[in-house]
Symmetry: C2
């Protein structure tokens, strides 16, 4: 990328393609870089012990002097969650709406970064110049308030990024997607549209958030005793509906779960949540209220082991005990991978005697993402020359691309790409022009990127069949075994019941060592591999298991 | 249970309640026990390294002289899969239909049990006397042929067990559920009905297997090149439909995957699968055929890592490479817990250029279990006095119980129970009368039941943050450290990048040891716990991780 930089726009997704999460898009023009979103993703099952996963930002670090800022489109973890890590490496201005920055601020405080980062508040319809980019924000509906999409105007053309969106005709806060701005952009001409693919497999339209409110109404009307509602902490519209319905039916609301309390306090403070006076009560106060006057808003809609609802279900919550007569509403859909945990929570709630209202049997949740007809409408509103489906697993991107094709966008103008692929656009043409480093950086505790394939492979093996450690002490001069071999195992067999097996294992190891001594083998790595092979074979024969075998030699 | 044995029937579920899998029901009357089904269940995520889980049969072993036999209702793993383990402990006659025994025989061969077990073939409408029980079998529709339910006649009354069923009005083999027998039982009077709850959350009717055939027709008609169909090996009706459709469209069928080939050969040999001559070809032969003349039937509909379809998707199959133009049909629904693996397989297939037809976007699968309207019909046909929902997770049992209540069965005549609960029925009354040992026995390799909570807890800890082993050698007489401490870690950090950390850790351990020496602490367990605490605290501070810490002391 050199002299012709002024004739092209470069787009590079660093996250969010081929996955739902860790969204991050690089927009580069004329020696300047703008980054859109900076999210995290939760680890895959095989990433044992990993807390979160963030995008690999090598490309940004290599071009750090070009980066003008990071725009975050809304306050979900998959859009802002990597900032506490990324801003440590790359301290650039951050742009976002009021609520988004409010939620971000909370995170940055935890990482002790809030004093050093420049946060720039924007609002829908703002027009901002950042380097050579003129950025225009437009409101979209989503499952969190204050979400925006954006148009980036450059001399080459306009890039429109929907971010996550749906077309909710009756949003809870009354703030409808900015149809005028979208059509205006369409009329003036859009070079590239990047659009949310999360629900590209779903036909029809996504229902309005108001539908959930109606279900709440019905459930609140019927419930005779306590009501417990679990939802995503960040779904402030949903929380608003719980509070409004509670107020209507004369119930007080108590909050269980730290993240729920945090988000609610930020949202209320910034004016995104209206809580009628005296509606909120402390969780400890509910025992003093009649049961039909109580609603508990709880975290744990995903069956997360340490969350409020899960603890209640397991009869392990310090302050709330589920009793027959309780109505529990799980107002969320299980995120892929959480299905079994959610099902287990529901089962335990039933066992405690609660009645449980959950998604697969009633309308207590709607998605925050556009379905096929809305996706088509977005394309028809914006009328882009080029189309890039983003925010989705690969099959969703493919499906979204096919929808665009149905609407008449020529196949060669649609780009289904992967993270790290470089897309270049001139006024007339678009092409894939190479690849930069992109991938996932694993965060484990304080370690960012220090757990890689070798560590994960070891954890996997340890998790399957445990470990056997063989220790022995050799005489420094003669090489003779003077202590051991001792065998210690963890996660392999229940030792007390398998003493004979471990005794025999020790004999096999001794034989292997004797064999080494006879053959005058003194090289430690050969001795170790002899021990490993002998013991491995023996244990597999006896147990059909392959524990990790770790010989340790000391000498005195 | 003593003198009054002749006045009551005892039912004890040992598996299949509160879970989908490891079905096993004990029926006891007058000093005789009959067992219905003997299935396995696949391990939960947290059962690290476990292969399968089987019911705890302590109760049967304690009463082994009373057990007259085990009836298996069909050939699915959750009904016959525990037999290879159970028959080793309890060699009693087994009763089942031709196909069920054919599939079982195959399993017993692997366990070298087939010569010692007495298999008794029964067929629908057979009436059999086993001890004091008169057992009558009736045909039901399910996702495997030759499935039966049964009525057990005793002097106290008749117990009807539906086993897994649906009401398919157009089954592929033409063998409709035996409505006459069910209504006849209902007319004569049924004391207890136990019925399949798997789909109790689903409204309406389950669609006929024929619907999938229609989808195949459409897909086969449209496919221009190769077709690859993945399905459950045991779904012989489904396989029949693939073969029939292939034959109709002039395609040959090749099989990829050992379990698929095994089941097909058993089913074809026993007459449950009709394969037109020259339709089946070897997988190696397909390269010699034009692409539009090929169908590949593959295992892997659940995204299982080592299965044929998954290997193809990962470009890792020895004989089949996915190429653009291929149509892949995943004719199954992901079993809860497998959603992400299936999604990943679909994504990879798309990336290889295939077109993929899968459940969430089209009708390539129907369930083998009755939905709510069919469940209601079953109750209306059989008209039992008492009702026990079985085969389902707790919320499904609850839902099924509510359906029964809607139909007029009094609440006190409906029993939602857990594995191990003892139900006693006289002609007029039923009650819960205690509890026997029931639970899960974990199978890991050759070990049955030798992996318990301690081992699993260790595996869990190992999987999250790995292990640090601290070895040192002490002088036998003085107690002084004469070698070490050495630290070896696995699954904790990438050692090469964390040398400094591990060096510092060693210093901390040395300090702790010195402290022990100064305090004249010679007790090994105190020394070890000092090392563990010091190192644990240090590592948590530095990394926020809690690896297992294992001090090992040797002395010379």
């Amino acid at each position: 990328m050199g002299e012709n930089d002024a004739n092209k726009i470069t787009l590079i997704p660093l996250g969010g393609l081929g996955e739902i999460g860790k969204n991050m898009l690089v927009v580069r023009y004329g020696g300047s870089i703008l980054v859109i979103d900076c999210g995290l993703i939760f680890p895959e099952d095989e990433m044992l012990g990993i807390d979160v996963v963030i995008p690999d930002i090598s490309y940004l670090l290599e071009n750090r002097h070009l980066v003008k800022g990071i725009i975050v489109t809304h306050g979900h973890e998959d859009h802002i969650g990597a900032l506490p890590y990324v801003l440590k490496e790359l301290n650039v201005p951050v742009y976002g709406t009021k609520l988004t920055l409010g939620l971000l601020q909370d995170k940055l405080k935890e990482s002790d970064l809030h004093r050093n980062v420049k946060l720039n508040r924007i609002k829908p319809r703002d027009v901002l110049n950042i380097g050579p980019f003129t950025v225009e924000f437009f409101r979209v509906s989503h499952s969190i308030p204050d979400a925006v999409g954006l148009a980036i105007h450059t001399p080459i053309g306009t890039i429109v990024h929907t971010s996550d969106f749906k077309f909710d005709q009756t949003p809870v806060d009354g703030e409808v997607t900015d149809f005028y701005k979208l059509t205006e952009l369409g009329e003036k001409g859009v070079l590239v549209l990047l659009s949310d693919s999360t629900n590209a497999e779903r036909p029809g339209y996504t229902m309005s958030e108001k539908v959930v409110g109606n279900t709440f109404e019905e459930a609140f009307r019927l419930a005779k005793e306590r009501i417990i509602v679990a939802s995503f902490a960040s779904n402030i519209h949903r929380i608003q509906q719980v509070i409004s319905t509670a107020y209507k039916y004369g119930r007080k609301v108590a909050v269980a779960g730290r993240s729920m309390a945090n988000v609610m306090s930020v949202a209320a403070e910034l004016g995104y949540l209206t809580i009628p006076e005296k509606t909120l009560v402390d969780l400890d106060e509910i025992v003093n209220l009649p049961k039909h006057r109580v609603v508990i808003l709880a975290t744990g809609s995903q069956g997360e082991p340490m969350s409020a609802l899960t603890r209640m279900a397991m009869a392990d919550h310090r302050r709330v005990e589920i009793v027959p007569g309780d109505t529990v509403i799980i107002s969320a859909t299980p995120i892929p991978g959480n299905e079994k945990m959610v099902a287990r929570t529901i089962d335990h709630l039933f066992k405690q005697g609660a009645d449980v209202i959950y998604e697969s049997i009633s309308g207590v949740h709607v998605s925050g993402h556009a379905s096929q007809e809305e996706l088509k409408m977005m394309i028809n509103l914006v009328k882009p020359r080029f189309f890039i489906p983003v925010h989705g697993e690969y099959r969703m991107l493919i499906k979204h691309a096919r929808l665009a094709e149905e609407l008449g966008i020529p196949r060669q103008n649609i780009f289904v790409v992967e993270n790290g692929q470089v897309l270049e656009f001139t006024r007339r043409r678009g092409c894939i022009a190479g690849r930069v480093t992109a991938g996932r950086v694993l965060v484990d505790g304080l370690g960012v990127g220090d757990v890689g394939n070798i560590v994960l492979r070891d954890r996997k093996q340890l998790s399957q069949d445990g470990i056997l450690i063989v220790v022995l002490t050799l005489n420094k001069d003669t090489g003779a075994v003077i202590a051991g071999p001792d065998i210690v195992s963890r996660g392999f067999v229940y030792v007390r019941e398998s003493e004979a097996l471990l005794e025999e294992a020790k004999i096999r190891v001794s034989e292997a060592l004797q064999h080494c001594e006879e053959k005058k083998i003194t090289d430690w790595s050969t001795i170790k591999s002899n021990v490993r092979d002998t013991l491995g074979k023996f244990l597999y024969e006896k147990t059909r298991r392959r524990p990790m075998i770790l010989p340790i030699i000391m000498e005195v």
